[in-house]
Symmetry: C2
Subunit: 526 residues, 2 copies
């Protein structure tokens, strides 16, 4: 990925004059597009890595896999949140890992962790680097040195059990690599989060990722059958059956542990045959509440679409306005819902028929296939659009949460109000959009996208809005994150999430597996 | 429940002369039926409870809720495994809790735990007392006194969110009580394990129970949205959304913690409207492997029956032979499969049609509705039949496990061989039967029922067979328990299950919440 933006340069977007004009008139964004900064303008603090440690790391995994050059360090200096990208472009000296190490096996990961624990070197596990919550921030904790442990060389499909539908993948396999490795055998993982093109299997597990097809294939944590974890105090290999009553499910402690308890090196996940067929159908609802109730009926009845999403009026409207820029279409006002259905022909036909009947009965207007196909076609474009908007002087950021169906409207109002009031009070009126992208029988996620003009200090500007939104989320009893994880940015709300004793339990687990505290300091644990 | 048997006296079964004759001729069981022993023959070790502790407990929760009479102690002296029942009937002095306390609220549970931690009194949480793994064994650990903490007074429906489909139930609510409380509002929990008639919500959560309708409504751990837990060091209230990425899922540490980490006092669970309709269909398969492959196709395709089971040839044959005794019918040889489908009329119709087509294509012969209805009618009878067989001089016991589909045949062979060889070597040839009762896309459970003649020392006899079976299970990589939990009896295999470091993690969590180790000593943690 590029050092200062999402993705790769060839997909960078330009904003049309119409969009720039709209940004200026509606939100007061300075329509002067700045060129992206040059990489040479970025200044890194010099590496702290001692000569002795460098030599030892070379001996452990080979000198070609220990990198201290600035280009590599800069590309491991953080994730891809809007604040991360703003920090990257700053020309003041910035922090970065003192070295980037690229082990080639589970045993090398284990050896590195033992070495770093003995030598008091902090370790930040690094997969695709797509965190938007500061999860790969090169925080040192109390340590003099910090290294990024990049898992990209662990990129193999270790086993495929076609009868059980279980693939064992190494942690560094990216989303597209997984689909390619499995696709040659006729299988698919079916995990398509926004970060799909760059994020890794290990990262999906470590952060409880949820993909756009979660209604059909489940969240990534649901897919996980087994995890192999290296810690400074030894190995774990957890998960002996599809389901078990052999005590607490320790997989669920390490899934979601964000590198603070160990490094996941292998994951056995449920896979499924590449679907025979896919049905697409879009719907329009007169308002968000009606649409949400319709989605609820579908998921509670068990009609099991593969994808089911609902944009609110603001998001539906913006997509309509931006149709040319984001490659999508939004042919109706109101609230746009997208559904897809995958599987065998008979399966798709019956599920699609059942869901269509329920959605129509709940007040939906059938928009046909095209908007759903357009959504799928453009679904990885949003982060590129964000980079263009950031360069045009706008703040664009997203945040997400989840709650029960009965609390959903309350949550949406609370977060929308908090973001709007915070940013308006700072002199930058905001467009706040929302969608549901993950549904469960008992509730749903809400995903917010915020656009406003940058102030002179956009990091402080966004930090205030983010704090207001987080406080609003916990005040109505929702979760601080549905699928972005905790990292550095959600840590202030973890005590609300798990309680004081819950925090002590997390610390007790960490002390058992990482007694010196080298693993991903400053993340997750309240 | 009765002190020496499953359930209540009015449902006790008598064996027919034909069955007794079959037991004698096939397995060498002495066909002389003994009368059940008298309760007065049971001798309990005197209570250790000190006068001072008795007075303090009275002050904490009221003297009428502190019981030290032998009748109450005897009914809390253990669970309902076959070894438990054999021990109960022994006329040598037997162990029992020194007192049984019945708190009336979460706060009283918390106060009791704090008191017992301060006074070094072991606490065994007690729900329905249906454990078949020694989970409510009154073990003292290193403590002088042990009390059973019976949750039966926590029997309320605290909240019902009909929009989200979430009920908050207190831990002492039994299966039938839950259905009654929810039923008046048009809802059902849909959790029907073998222990349904007596087991409790708290016990379902603490042991990761799985009901016969797990294909449709999920395991109990899947249903749990939120748990409230009292520990000696404070409270936990875990679960803020249907799904979250806010770190490790601490619910999954306390669900399945079997009273060793705290006492679950409230559980918010997913519920669903009482189904509009139920479809029943039974199938016959020529052999177990063909039937298992058929079930696998159904669950991997997502045809989602509510119940789906498959008996092997031996179990199908015995059910046929015992039809008159167990109230069921088994009109075909081969392997009998049962399916049911619940939901709205449209939902049931499409799912049933899809599953029927798949099962027929996979080699099933349609047996119509009746065998499935008969199975449902008699599904809670087996433990009563066991009591009659125990009294007739037979050993009858069950054990269960789970693995991936590709390993299922291997597992079945290994366990069947281990049980058969162990019991045959002891001079008691055994009938070993097996069924699949819980299916997942990646694998299934196997449930074994063993019948043989009792030797002079049936506890030692069964212990040898159980050890052989457990060793066989872990040797083929399966889980030591799919839904019976760990308790005392599966603890020897927990190190195989979670590894040495996993065991240390469990102990670290216990030390954080229960530093004096009063909670359910001798269970779960390896």
């Amino acid at each position: 990925m590029e050092w200062d933006a999402w993705g790769v340069a060839e997909f960078r977007k330009q904003l049309s004059p119409q969009v720039l004009s709209l940004l200026s008139s509606a939100l007061g964004v300075d329509a002067e597009q700045s060129p992206p900064p040059e990489e040479s303008a970025a200044v890194l603090r010099p590496t702290n890595l001692t000569e002795g440690h460098r030599t030892d790391l070379d001996d452990l995994i080979g000198s070609e896999h220990v990198r201290t050059d600035d280009a590599t360090r800069l590309r491991h200096a953080g994730g891809k949140s809007t604040p991360d990208l703003l920090r990257r472009k700053d020309t003041e000296p910035q922090d970065a890992p003192d070295a980037v190490v690229l082990p080639g096996s589970h045993d090398e990961v284990l050896a590195l962790l033992r070495y770093c624990a003995a030598e008091a070197i902090a370790v930040v596990p690094f997969g695709g680097g797509t965190s938007v919550v500061g999860g790969v921030d090169p925080a040192r904790g109390g340590f003099h040195e910090v290294i990024a442990l990049d898992l990209r060389r662990l990129d193999a499909l270790l086993d495929l059990d076609t009868v059980s539908g279980i693939a064992t993948l190494q942690a560094g396999v990216t989303g597209p690599q997984a689909e390619q490795l499995l696709g040659t055998h006729g299988f698919s993982l079916g995990h398509f989060p926004q970060s799909f093109q760059f994020a890794t299997i290990g990262g999906f597990a470590a952060t409880r990722s949820s993909g756009q097809a979660s209604a059909g294939y489940g969240r990534f944590d649901d897919m996980v059958q087994r995890v192999r974890v290296a810690t400074p105090t030894g190995d774990l290999d957890l998960g002996r059956a599809p389901a078990s009553a052999a005590g607490p499910d320790l997989r669920e402690l390490f899934v979601g542990s964000e590198g603070a308890f160990g490094i996941i090196t292998e994951v056995a996940v449920r896979v499924h045959p590449i679907p025979e067929t896919t049905a697409y159908r879009a719907w329009s609802f007169p308002d968000f509440a009606t649409g949400a109730a319709a989605l609820r009926t579908v998921i509670q009845t068990g009609a099991t679409p593969t994808v089911m999403r609902l944009s609110d009026e603001a998001e539906t409207g913006l997509n309509l306005a931006l149709a040319g820029d984001v490659g999508g279409e939004s042919p109706a006002a109101g609230c746009l819902a997208i559904t897809t259905f995958e599987g065998t022909a008979a399966h798709v036909e019956s599920r699609h028929a059942e869901a269509c009947a329920l959605l129509a009965a709940a007040g939906g207007t059938d928009l046909g296939e095209q908007p759903a196909r357009s959504w799928e076609h453009g679904r990885y474009d949003a982060p590129y659009l964000r980079d263009a908007l950031l360069n045009a002087g706008a703040i664009v950021e997203t945040l997400e949460t989840a709650t029960t169906w009965s609390n959903l409207s309350n949550l949406r109002t609370a977060v929308t109000t908090a973001l709007t009031e915070s940013l308006t009070a700072q002199g930058t009126p905001a467009l706040v959009m929302c969608h549901i992208s993950h549904t469960y029988p008992t509730g749903a996620s809400l995903y917010f996208t915020v656009v406003c003009a940058q102030t002179a200090d956009p990091l402080t500007q966004w930090a205030a809005a983010k704090k207001a939104a987080g406080d609003a989320i916990v005040s109505v009893g929702a979760t601080i994150t549905h699928h972005h994880a905790v990292g550095r940015d959600h840590r202030p709300w973890m005590s609300d999430e798990v309680g004081e004793l819950g925090g002590r339990v997390l610390q007790a687990v960490k002390d058992a597996v990482d007694p010196t505290g080298i693993l991903n300091p400053g993340k997750l644990i309240p």
